[in-house]
Amino acid sequence: MGGLAGLWGSRRFRGLVYQALVIGGVIAVGGWLVRNTLTNLELRGIATGFGFLGREAGFDISESLIPYTPADTYARALLVGLLNTLLISALGIVFATLIGTAVGVMRLSGNWLMARLCGVYVEAVRNVPLLLQLFVWYGLVTTLPGARQALNPLPGVFLSNRGLVIPGLDWSGGGWPVLDLPRLAGFNFTGGLTLSPEFAALLAGLTVYTAAFIAEIVRAGILSVPKGQVEAARALGLSKGQTLRLVVLPQALRVIVPPLTSQYLNVTKNSPLAIAIGYPDLVAVSNTAINQTGQAVESVALVMGVFLCISLGLSALMNWYNKRVALVSK
């Protein structure tokens, strides 16, 4: 008896017992959930497993980067959604980084008006829910004039309620691609690349929202570089732009990259808001699949797995980059 009491007195032993109890509890709850779900699915006559992926999807998807018809499988439909998610995330990350960096730099510029305007932008955008902003963007895009009265801000760029049409590259000739300029034909455009109104609204929303956060991160990063660095660069005759580009930003990066990573993850994780304005991203497509097959558990697990992979991949990439920009010291 004394031996057992002594054992109980040991902190290590007590810790082990508590951990065993917690693990046991988790397994019990998990097992109960699985059993319960399986019984329910069986009662409603819903099949389990990933067999549905090979069946015909039977629904159309409004935009796709690869050929797709309703006769294709669920697997292909989900792939279309995944590619759309990757496209919007990648473009969102690139544009948000460019705009965010520019705004962050301008907030610190000597130009009072510029700095103020950028400050207002950051505060306004950061404090309004993204979903609301998406509705605003979608509203703006859909109230644009029709194709015949399209806005033509740059040569070859048309903005109308058909979306944004930009020049594309035509590779069909083999060898060097030729520039494929869009032109009006009847009530729509031919040639070039067309971004749907939904895509344009989602991209604008994600970009403008994320850029505001990135601007703050860039600003903090620049402020973290000691003033002496700027003075040394200026004393050597580097211009303001060169000082920023060659001396300040490279050092600011080590402060910028870690929080930037989480913003990049946020772009990806915010992209499912696409569903609110009807852009067929992975989540929207899987939602349709769930409605038709009832196989929510498998679909959600699949989508979660995919997002986990994207996030982990992105994190790994950014960690590698962060190591590269780290300063060497003793």
Binding site: E231, A232, A235, L236, L246, V325
Partner: protein
Amino acid sequence: MSTPIIEIKDVNKWYGEFHVLKDVCLEVAKGEKVVVCGPSGSGKSTMIRCINRLEEHQSGRIAVDGIELGDDVKAVEAVRRRVGMVFQSFNLFPHLTVLENLTLAPVKVAGVAPREAESTAMALLERVRIPEQAGKFPGQLSGGQQQRVAIARALCLKPAVMLFDEPTSALDPEMVGEVLDVMSGLAAEGMTMICVTHEMGFARAVADTMVFMDEGRIVEVAPPAQFFQSPANERTRRFLGKIIGH
């Protein structure tokens, strides 16, 4: 005497309400070595930072090699090409190697070919006696080594004038000597120098002219012998008494 390479005439500067430089006048001839000393906050750094326009003066005239400093960006660039500066805190670029620190300005500002900039840089590293550190990053060097790299970096654009703002104040005592040696070498080669420093041994050995500042004014300008033996001004005497001690 030839025209001075640095002319400072009736310069006044304010930080808001605070009058930092009061009617400052100083002329430095080509090849002259000027050592500036004075109590903390007397405006020594501010004065030499006005010479390459890291600070702007509000009235009076500052000209380097005949180029007057003002709002003209081209003039400021031209002056910065002629003036090298060494800071108390080294301010080496930590993300670049020693060699890259030295070649950055020649390549990006003066448009020198990278190969040529590198051979000039290596020659300068030989001169400050650390050629073997060329591939290291500043964070891997001792303070004394970093300051010698900083001197080499300032020399890369072949400046006509070198400004030093307390170059040894941030160093451990055992490293002060190696930096002062490099500076003495530079002086011996005929470089025009303005040094803010309280290293009085160095001042005695190297300076042609001693300048004493107090409360934003230049209070005394004299050759070292006279400056140390019989300072004319009461404040100079008190300051020297404190700094040389005993």
